[in-house]
């Protein structure tokens, strides 16, 4: 139990980060390194600026 708890908490934390979008930049870097490592990646600030512009340009909320 005591050994399993930190692992579970960690999983929960990862899940929350994932739902909130906190890990988006890490996922982007990982994918970027895999697909076109020859290009320099965006900085965190540039990446989030782009992401916010994209996310709120379509229907993202209902009534």
């Amino acid at each position: 139990m005591s050994a399993a708890l930190p692992a579970d908490l960690r999983k929960l934390w990862e899940f929350m980060r994932s739902v909130a979008g906190d890990d988006a930049y890490e996922r982007y870097l990982e994918r970027h390194a895999r697909t076109h490592p020859e290009l320099p990646p965006l900085t965190p600030a540039e990446f989030f600026a782009d992401e916010q512009e994209r996310k709120w340009s379509g229907v993202s909320r209902c009534c």
């Binding site: 600026a49 340009s57 909320r61």
Partner: protein
């Protein structure tokens, strides 16, 4: 038709389960005593969703849609690390639910309780499992099989240009009416309430601080920024209390309804033209976290306090159609008053285009499409409970506009008591004082009465002497995510408008040009602002006009979505299963058309727009209106005629699409050429983790 259970145990379990569900339903439906416990509602609802999910959704997925877990999804095929990303199914569920759950399922059910708890509850439960959940799931399936395309594109591809145009016009009209009516709800919650007004104003700098934090200080730290923001929001509720208690500040925040309306319009315009990271995005984060938190907190609090539902099962207004909040009888009006929570056409815009780009595997469509809507329907049931645990007299006193029950408190309570729902002036004054408000009379719109219900439930759960804090917390919560829908909607509406304007003037259609952004935002805000001001000036409180119009437009969009889905099912060669979407479509089209005809042509001036306009014109001509009413009359007369034209337009658009689909289906069945099924080709998935 149901999938047979595999073993005897499953069979016994099913029978037991169904008996339990039937008895919970029975307890809700047949209760003859004074009151009934809210836990019966929860039990009936949960069992209803579980059974429908386990059997009906499984059957649709296996027989009608034939989900294929070996087929690669658009997220896998087009993975770009941005909008196309194969996502863990619970994360995708969270995103989808947060996107579809707005203020609608809280407000519509609250208003519909004027008929008593039974009609609304049955429609929410049955409408969701046979209509709303099916719509969301089938549209999500169609879009997933079509590279994540939007409803409008699918309508164009599958039905032809007529369907495409109808979907475009339908989505833009619903956006205008939706924002106007939500704006009206905010106005009614803020007017002459310094506490609420100060709290709402405080949320704007809070959102900006969070925006700056996520942009400049800790880029992309959404969780940190949101936790900071929520603490600041709680500070706003406290700050509102300080303002309301201060002699010198109170008056500065005591606004009448036109001032509140101007605030809403200026806010909507600013949010649409400011960069998204400054106001729109951070507000959206905050409202999403708050929404999820409060919904679960409310469910927990209802389970703990197990409140008694005091509203009767049926009121006289179900039959006589003279309800104080909106006019018209149960059939058809309960079905347009409660759109979100039973079936909401707006969901089809998220279920196509947005969520399909996140799905890692097709089989998740069942849980995410059907399951999310079942959860939203459950939110609507909680709104029903919150509205029904207060004394019916109090519910009517809060929600009845002054134009119906009288301006003076004594007159209002006398009218409401004469309907058989006793309430006194002292009771209402005491309640207002407890909630930290000057008055709770005539706060039509659903938000204040929902806040009173929620505050009472939270107060009983947590104890203490903070009823006024809970009330304004609930108001802040409602307003926060109404404003989120309002500003996100204005922005999307602006894009849609520019898409149309492109055909008229190229420069105006350029979404990257700032002057074009400002001009088109101004046009769009003026469009919904017109209806908002009409609602504010309406002597019967505005909800009577705008909410049915909103319900009709939302059901119109649902009708278009179900029509597209039915056409696709038929073209898939599954005519014998087409009833899965055709049945809810037939029901909606009937109710929506019936309601639109009544709202337009009824000879009762309180129901029919045209009769209302004619009566006001006659009164004006006869000189029986007091001077202030006479001055406002010409605009209101013209407004009601516009409303009539809109209602007729909605119905015309809906039936055009339906007949277009029927024409297309008949050609298909006769073996004549039709637009081909636009499904993308099969390719095998490589994502083994998602098949699990």
């Amino acid at each position: 038709m149901l999938k047979m259970p595999k073993s005897i145990t499953a069979g016994v379990g099913l029978v037991g389960f169904s008996l339990l569900a039937a008895s919970a339903f029975g307890a809700v439906a047949l209760e003859k005593g004074e009151t009934i416990n809210a836990l019966w509602f929860i039990a009936a609802a949960v069992l209803n969703y579980l059974i429908a999910y386990r059997f009906y959704s499984a059957w649709i997925c296996a027989k009608v849609l034939v989900l294929d877990e070996t087929r690669a999804t658009p997220a896998e095929r087009f993975n770009n690390g941005r909008d196309f990303v194969p996502t863990n199914k619970w994360v995708a569920f969270g995103h989808h639910f947060a996107a579809i759950a707005g203020p609608g399922p809280l407000i519509g059910p609250t208003l519909a309780m004027q008929f008593g708890f039974l009609p609304g509850t049955i429609w929410i439960l049955v409408g969701a499992v046979l209509g709303g959940c099916v719509q969301d799931m089938v549209i999500m399936f169609c879009s997933t099989r079509r590279d994540g395309r939007s409803l409008g594109q699918m309508a164009r591809d599958e039905l032809g240009p007529v369907g495409g145009w109808a979907a475009l016009i339908g989505s833009m009209m619903i956006m205008i009416i939706l924002i106007a009516v939500l704006g009206l709800v905010i106005v009614k919650a803020m007017k002459h309430s310094p506490w609420a007004t100060a709290t709402v104003l405080g949320t704007i700098p809070v959102a900006m601080i969070v925006g700056l934090y996520m942009r400049g200080i800790r880029p992309g730290k959404v969780l940190e920024g949101s936790i900071l923001g929520i603490l600041l929001l709680l500070g706003c509720v406290w700050f509102g209390g300080v303002v309301s208690g201060s002699e010198s500040w109170r008056d500065a925040f005591d606004w009448n309804d036109m001032q509140c309306a101007w605030f809403v319009m200026i806010y909507g315009f600013s949010a649409a033209v400011l960069p998204v990271w400054l106001l729109l995005a951070p507000r959206d984060y905050l409202s999403t976290f708050l929404k999820l938190g409060v919904v679960f907190m409310l469910a927990g609090a209802i389970m703990i306090t197990a409140p008694e539902v005091k509203m009767p099962a049926l009121t006289q207004f179900a039959e006589n159609g003279m309800g104080p909040i909106f006019k018209g009888s149960l059939f058809p009006f309960v079905f347009v008053t409660i759109a979100c929570g039973a079936i909401s056409g707006f969901h089809s815009l998220v279920s196509s285009g947005t969520t399909p780009k996140l799905l890692a595997n097709e089989k998740e469509i069942r849980m995410i499409g059907y399951g999310s809507m079942a959860l939203e329907s459950f939110v609507a049931i909680m709104a029903v409970i919150a509205a029904c645990v207060m004394e019916p007299g109090v519910y009517f006193a809060i929600n009845s506009p002054a134009g119906v029950v009288g301006k003076e408190a004594a007159a209002a309570v006398a009218t409401i008591t004469s309907w058989g729902y006793p309430v006194t002036v002292e009771q209402m004054n005491a309640l207002a004082a407890e909630m930290g408000e000057k008055t709770l009379f005539a706060r039509t719109g659903g938000a204040p009465s929902l806040a009173v219900g929620m505050a009472t439930i939270f107060h009983e759960t947590f104890g203490g002497k903070m009823l006024d804090m809970w009330y304004h917390f609930a108001i802040m919560f409602e307003v926060l995510f109404i404003l989120t829908t309002l500003d996100a909607g204005t922005r999307v509406g602006r894009f849609m408008l520019q898409d149309l304007l492109r055909h008229v003037s190229r420069p105006l259609g350029d979404v990257s040009s700032y002057p074009a952004t400002v001009v088109s935002s101004l046009i769009f805000v003026a469009a919904w602002g017109y209806f908002l001001v009409q609602g504010v000036k309406d002597p019967l409180g505005g909800v009577n006009i705008l909410w049915p119009l909103f319900g009709i437009s939302n059901q119109l969009l649902a009708g278009i979505a179900l029509t597209v889905a039915t056409g696709i099912i038929i073209k898939m060669g599954k005519l014998r299963y087409a009833w899965v979407t055709a049945l809810p479509l037939a029901w909606l089209a009937t109710m929506c058309t019936w309601a639109a005809i009544e709202k337009t042509f009824s000879s009762n001036p309180a129901i029919g727009f045209l009769a209302g306009a004619n009566k006001m014109a006659a009164d004006l001509a006869a000189g029986v209106l007091p001077p202030d009413k006479a001055a406002a009359a010409p605009a209101l007369i013209f407004g009601q005629r516009i409303d009539a034209a809109l209602a007729v337009l909605f119905v015309a658009v809906l039936w055009t699409v339906i007949f277009d689909m029927i024409r297309m289906s008949r050609r298909y069945l006769a073996g004549r050429p039709v637009p081909a099924l636009s499904e993308s080709a099969y390719s095998r998935t490589q994502l083994e983790w998602a098949r699990g």
